[in-house]
Subunit: 198 residues, 2 copies
């Protein structure tokens, strides 16, 4: 069976739901997920797609909706979490490094856990020190390598790849050229993979 590319940016709020439930979804569905960090912020700014800043009513709804859905999935959440992120790029550059080194999923899940359950903003020193300790990485080394040219280029290349697939938001699930935007389209993506396999 074909896998699903899971395009995410740390900083996206609804991505919390996907990050927390993907292990269970993967086990139950048998579908493999390929975790792809990219900069949804760059793409959204290019498109003038600014869903929540200066839209307080919509933002308040977003938190309430996430709260309800987190409860539905049995995922704890202390909301609203700090938002938006000051260190958006750093948090995602570390994810790019972590992907290359094989500890991406643990890093992202731990990052979201401290952000959405303990109120420690993703990408902040307070969050990073907890998370990197938890995933067994040295903070000084990680910060140095995450800011290297190699990682920055890989981050930009992933964002270019997302743009070329017409991705405009996060989380997004892709199966070949087929795009499914939002945690609430994960079931549709799985159904698509299954029907494509028949």
């Amino acid at each position: 069976m074909q896998g699903i590319d899971f395009w995410f940016s740390i900083g996206s709020t609804y991505t919390y739901l996907s990050v927390m439930r993907l292990p269970d979804v993967q086990e139950k569905s048998g579908v493999l997920f390929n975790w792809r960090p990219f900069s949804v912020r760059s793409i959204m700014l290019e498109m003038d797609n600014i869903p929540f800043a200066k839209k307080p009513v919509k933002q308040a709804y977003m938190w309430r909706d996430i709260e309800r859905r987190a409860r539905h999935y049995g995922v704890p959440a202390r909301l609203p979490a700090p938002y938006p992120l000051s260190e958006f790029d750093l948090a995602n550059e570390i994810a790019v490094l972590a992907r290359d080194e094989g500890w991406c999923e643990d890093y992202v899940r731990s990052t979201y856990k401290y952000w959405f359950q303990d109120g420690l903003e993703a990408g902040s020193d307070a969050n990073l020190s907890k998370v990197l300790s938890e995933v067994g990485q040295d903070m000084t080394r990680v910060l140095r390598d995450a800011r290297s040219d190699v990682v920055r280029k890989a981050y930009a290349a992933a964002t270019d790849e997302a743009r070329a697939k017409y991705i405009f938001g996060a989380p997004t699930f892709t199966v070949g050229e087929e795009v499914f935007w939002g945690d609430d389209r994960l079931d549709d993506a799985i159904a698509f993979v299954r029907s494509a396999g028949r």
Copy 2:
């Protein structure tokens, strides 16, 4: 069991899915839906919430997403349908009149059917003549009454009521103060009604 208010504007694309599947949903769930036409366009303009105009990538995705979900629900669709509407307000003012006179659901369903299945833009003469004939209403009489002060005031009052409930998009389902935005939150709204009833 408490009912659900179904806030809609003819002109919203995802509302097609809700309009077509509500009879079945109502029968299977036993939940009653109170159809509430309002001007989502007014509210979105006030909030500078412009999801698709000048966002071609997002708009193309929207049509593909609706196509997939319509197929999933077994609802026919010839997409993209003409969009956005030139006669948005007229289409909804007629819905307000129809609601007062008891033929709202039939009018809205017929309007969407000719718009999304036959390519006849909602609110256009071509759409209205087919629809009003189908629902047994005289077009001259309806156009006159829909443009009356009484209807315009009722339309504005419904929009004020939606705004006061913090509604910012369509379709929206409300249960008391609880807001569920989008056709894809209909199941959440039904679950909420059921849990509130216990």
